[in-house]
Amino acid sequence: MKQGLTKILSNSAVQDYFHLVFKWDKSLPVPQPGQFLNLRVADSTVPLLRRPFAFSGYDANKGICSIIYQIKGRGTQILSSKKSDDTLDFTGPLGNTFLPFSSNHHNILMAGGVGLGPVLFFAEVLINRNLPFEFIFGARTKQLIPLSLLKIIPNLTLCTDDGTEGFKGTAVDFLKETDKDRLKRSTVFACGPYAMMKAAYQVCRKNGSPCYVSMEQIMACGMGACMGCVVEKKGRDGKYLRVCAEGPVFEAGEIEWT
């Protein structure tokens, strides 16, 4: 974990998304899938705080990393205006990871929208280790699917709410239709909108499948110091977990879903 400056190699629009690729020297800690960076997007006090983004890939040989993001407000707007050779001011890698995972379990990876980044990175690691998995990606409609980012995935199921591509329905709808026996032998890893992760967890719980989710919360420090980024812990006894320190990846049963 450190604060540093690195160089942007490319920052290109892919459908609704931006794919930002930047240098990641070998001297830096190896990022793990699920981990994130906290980026300072401008040398100004507006925006003031860093913005967290999950790693979406790491290539040790090339010494490059990437994130996938969407424009939400001023911070991501500014980020999207950056060009190759611009400097990226980061702290990281931060947080925990999807690993370790069971290699003799069936792995189902699910991503919704901009939750794609960390799941894609996880898939990359599984591919490199020759571990089998299936990958479900959900989007509203065909046009929003960043196909060029998904092309590395061998066992891909696309879901669209409007049925314009692949399965008609959400990623969780598809999960529900998965063979129950197979689901029981599977571990599910999900990142996406809160409602999607909650629904995925409910399906998993019904089938007794382990389920891991990558949570979001507004952050200040990103390193466990400010106690700002908590989510409620299962149990309704007023306990909290810090997304940046205990997470962002949680066993879904740890969370008090609201």
């Binding site: 974990m1 450190k2 604060q3 300072r40 006090t45 507006v46 925006p47 003031l48 705080l49 860093r50 702290t91 919360q217 507004i218 952050m219 200040a220 420090c221 990103g222 390193m223 466990g224 110091a225 400010c226 106690m227 700002g228 980024c229 908590v230 989510v231 409620e232 007023g238 306990k239 909290y240």
Partner: protein
């Protein structure tokens, strides 16, 4: 030049502090910065029992600032002593325990436990907490209540005693004088301003706690003004803070009358801020021929 700061008969190696609540227990930052270069680490507020804090969301950015409603989440004084303090041992920075409580007794109990713990340099008392025995008004809003609390803690505390003032008062100088009379060795100035942000699509406050504390560059002019006013009111050292991002900001506080400063929100933005501010103050002193901290106080009446 001599950057030492004297407070209550002890000294800090330099005027740079990191503000309570923004630096955890110090160790969270150890991979980012050599903690030993910091003059003083002010811990997250310690309470007698561990506290989980408020429901989330707890944070929202505002123009050049941020609101927080952490709600004093902390491990409790005992866990701090047994689990956190040992990890701070390798570093030469002073550790100042920030202390919160909802009754005078609670403050005293926390101080008592800390008295038994080696390695703590001093105490900073957060008097912005709602005083349950006085109907929820903060200890820091009534001079008499603030003075009495200070007196009681003074009897127990053998280490430097710093009272941290709230800006949300009519007359901060009156509170500062009261705690000086009560035996404080210094005052910290300022804590956060009350604030609220509403999510207009959800039609509800963003923070689950509705209101929160405003910090960051947005409040710097308030911090500088109140530091200036407090300095005119008391003889004890003033520790200034609020929105310090750069050495120039810190120098503003020193010129306004502060003997030391604290960096809060800026730690989130740039973990190197304490180092940069320290270096920048050194350069300023060299350039402006300032030999010691009190030299800063001769310029502005």
């Amino acid at each position: 030049m001599d950057l030492k700061v004297k407070i209550g008969g002890q000294s800090l190696s330099n005027p740079i502090g990191v503000a309570s609540g923004t630096y955890g227990y110090g160790i969270e930052y150890k991979d980012y910065l050599d903690l030993s270069i910091i003059g003083a680490i002010y811990t997250k507020a310690l309470t007698l029992l561990p506290r989980e804090g408020n429901a989330p969301p707890r944070i929202i950015e505002t123009p050049s600032g941020m609101l927080n409603s952490i709600g004093l989440a902390n491990v409790g004084v005992d866990a701090f002593i047994t689990e956190k303090m040992p990890q701070l041992k390798p570093y030469s920075c002073a550790v100042i325990a920030n202390i919160a409580g909802s009754t005078e007794r609670e403050y005293l109990q926390v101080v008592e436990r800390l008295e038994g713990c080696k390695g703590i340099w001093g105490y900073e008392i957060n008097i912005s907490c709602p005083n349950v025995s006085h109907g929820g008004m903060a200890f820091g809003t009534d001079p008499a209540v603030a003075e009495k609390l200070t007196q009681s803690i003074r009897k127990t505390a053998t280490r430097p005693l710093i009272i941290k003032l709230s800006p949300n008062v009519t007359d901060i100088s009156a509170i500062a004088k009261a705690v000086e009379n009560g035996g404080a060795d210094a005052v910290s100035c300022i804590n956060t301003l009350v604030g609220m942000v509403i999510d207009t699509s959800k039609k509800e406050p963003v923070l689950a706690n509705k209101t929160g504390g405003l910090s960051g560059p947005a409040i710097r002019p308030v911090g500088v003004a109140l530091t200036y006013m407090v300095k005119k009111a008391v003889k004890i050292p003033v520790i200034g803070m609020g929105g310090i991002m750069t050495a120039d900001d810190a120098v503003q506080y020193l010129l306004a009358g502060a003997s030391a400063i604290q960096i809060g929100t800026a730690n989130f933005v740039d973990t190197q801020t304490p180092l940069k501010v320290l270096d920048g103050i050194r350069e300023y002193c060299k350039r402006e021929n300032i030999g010691k901290i009190s030299d800063f106080h001769q310029f502005i009446e």
